[in-house]
């Protein structure tokens, strides 16, 4: 038995004596009793217990608060406007300050934090959501103006565990790095597919007088149509690849994979290291 294991054993045997009153109260509040409490204690050192318990309690409290926020009345609302609209298919009814943007209503009142506040001035596209089938900027949309509308956010795209094809393609083609712009990129791309199906023109469309019922977009067209979504990590080539695949329906090979112990590339590289040094 290692010293560490011995310490745990003694902790389990002397559970009540080892814990402070605060720690005991925390475990009581967390509902950890009897055998469960012993197993729990067996997994943490005495010093770590209070830290871990505090953290768990804080998380529970935070989650409990999140559930209540939608109905909570903010401290101060000026020029209150009652507004009812659908979000991802669910009816929502809110009393908002006339100044509140749709983005803030989604994030702060409905806990839909997928839509991101990037610039908050309509320059970056991170807040893009789909309203009545059209992509728009939620940071420049007042919540009060959304009466009777239907809002789709990134949270509403997947069907259960099945990702929307554009979401799956972004994963497959590594269409992001930090991920902050991604919800906006994906909402924008989803709406773009509809715009192409409807034959809508762009600035790079060669002849806008030709009005085909539906469009096959070139990479140039995809780039132009996605220009309202900025990606500071510069994942643009992969974003275009993801959109191209969904738009054309032509699958292209995934160019990355997680490495594992069987990955021959790891061993090939280490074998070749000396040779590579020589060529440099």
């Amino acid at each position: 038995m290692t010293n560490e294991q011995k310490e745990v054993e003694s902790l389990m045997e002397n559970e009540d004596r080892q814990m402070s009153a605060d720690e005991e109260q925390l475990l009581n509040e967390l509902g950890v009793f009897g055998e469960a409490r012993r197993r729990f204690l067996g997994q943490v050192s005495a010093a770590g217990l209070s830290v871990l318990a505090m953290q768990m309690l804080a998380e529970l409290n935070a989650l409990a608060a999140v559930g209540e926020m939608e109905n909570a009345v903010p401290v101060q609302i000026e020029n209150a406007v009652k507004v009812a609209f659908k979000v991802n298919g669910a009816e929502k009814s809110l009393r908002v300050d006339s100044r509140m943007t749709l983005l803030d209503a989604l994030r702060e009142r409905m806990q839909l934090t997928g839509s991101k506040k990037g610039c908050d001035h309509g320059q970056c596209g991170a807040c893009t959501v789909i309203v009545d089938g059209r992509r728009v900027l939620s940071c420049l949309t007042l919540a009060a103006t959304c009466e009777g509308k239907s809002v789709m956010t990134i949270e509403g795209l997947a069907k259960g565990d099945a990702l929307h094809p554009v979401q799956a393609a972004f994963v497959k083609h590594d269409g992001f790095q930090c991920g902050y712009c991604t919800p906006g990129q994906i909402c924008s791309a989803v709406a773009l597919m509809t715009e192409a199906k409807n034959g809508e023109a762009s600035y790079v469309t060669a002849d806008v007088r030709q009005q085909p019922r539906t469009l096959q977009l070139s990479d140039e067209e995809i780039r132009e149509r996605m220009s309202g979504n900025i990606c500071r990590c510069g994942a643009y080539p992969n974003i275009v690849a993801a959109i191209r695949e969904v738009h054309t329906g032509k699958e292209s090979a995934q160019t990355w994979q997680f490495a594992d112990e069987n990955d021959p590339a790891i061993f090939e590289n280490s074998d070749k290291e000396d040779a590579r040094d020589e060529t440099v």
């Binding site: 300050d97 992509r135 900027l137 420049l140 007042l142 023109a201 600035y203 009005q211």
Partner: protein, 335 residues
């Protein structure tokens, strides 16, 4: 953002009355520019009347009057819907291209035509409340005149203001001889020629347009024309897309035999209002559509330019852009 009263209008006359009664009230349509400026504390209305539910959205052929056979474009139609309306794409492709050259897909889905006309300048001194700006704060001075004025005007500016008008759509509209229909507080409608709608800054740069407070834009009318075969909107900017113009050119030609019968040329990014290049137009009428004539026409216009310290490049850029836009208009969009 400062607090403001919000209401939704169901009736145009009521909306006009509400705004007319309050000097600090504004109409709210797409909000893409107004909400941004309110966040920046540049616009400070204490009341907004949401007019997006008013029925000024149809785009239709004009049956009677001076513009018979032309098209009436609802002020509250979205930019996207206007650009893609079959009638507009077929008969006014210059307008479609100009609208699609501006902003992004998301913003064009929100922005209305009336709102596009009322966009305010993107001069960074106008946006920065720590800087002087006669447009934002009359009498405070112009930060751009002696500041960084690379993006600013080369035509028609004053000591008070060197800002430029930001819209692409408006450059096509002034080239296409548009008329703006407005409804006033007295319930009467009036028409404003597009060329007279926006103003040069003079001593009152705080006034962008000749619209009276409370007047509501209801429609934009375009006369019938024969430019659809030979027109092009060229936009030159710092990025490939989603940026305001350094210089843009709306060019439209109608041939008469082997020569140019009518020419329409307007420039964006060069003045406080959409700049109709009348000198270039005058030169081209009756001439052959050759590169040499296009160059002479561009010279005729650009020789009157008075660049500021940082935007001398706009004179040569404008000259070349005019030539290129005319060539592309002649070649159906190809160089």
């Amino acid at each position: 953002m400062r607090p403001f009263k919000y209401s939704r209008a169901n009736d145009a006359a009521n909306a006009v009355r509400t705004i007319s009664a309050n000097a600090n009230a504004k109409f709210l349509a797409g909000g893409t520019n107004l909400i941004d400026l309110m966040k920046e504390d540049v616009e400070r209305p204490n009341e907004l009347v949401d007019i997006t539910r008013l029925n000024f959205t149809p785009i239709k052929t004009i049956a009677n009057g001076a513009n018979k056979g032309g098209v009436s474009i609802g002020a509250l139609a979205k930019n996207t819907d206007t650009a893609n309306q079959p009638l507009i794409r077929q008969n006014y492709p210059l307008l479609t291209q100009a609208i699609l050259a501006g902003a992004s897909g998301q913003i064009r889905n929100m922005a209305t035509n009336g709102g596009n006309l009322l966009q305010r300048t993107r001069c960074s001194y106008f946006y920065d409340t720590a800087m002087p700006c006669n447009k934002r704060e009359p009498g405070s001075g112009c930060g751009a005149l002696e500041g960084i004025n690379r993006m600013h005007a080369i035509f028609g500016y004053s000591e008070q203001c060197v800002a430029v008008h930001p819209s692409d759509m408006c450059i096509a509209l002034v080239a296409l001889d548009a008329t703006v229909k407005v409804q006033g507080a007295d319930g009467k409608e009036r028409s404003i020629l597009f060329a007279d709608f926006h103003r040069l800054p003079g001593n009152t740069p705080d006034k962008d347009t000749n619209l009276q407070h409370g007047e509501l834009i209801t429609a934009i009318e375009l006369p019938k024309n024969n430019f659809a075969d030979k027109s092009y909107y060229l936009k030159v900017r710092d990025r490939a897309s989603y940026a305001f113009a350094l210089v843009s050119v709306a060019a439209a030609l109608e041939m008469n035999g082997g020569n140019i019968g009518q020419a329409r040329i307007a420039l964006g990014g060069v003045a406080h209002k959409p700049w109709r290049a009348t000198e270039a137009e005058k030169f081209l009428v009756g001439k052959a559509a050759t590169e040499a004539n296009f160059k002479s026409a561009a010279d005729a216009e650009m020789r009157n330019a008075k660049p500021l310290e940082h935007n001398k490049f706009k004179v040569e850029l404008g000259r070349r852009a005019i030539v290129r836009a005319l060539q592309m208009a002649m070649n159906g969009g190809a160089v």
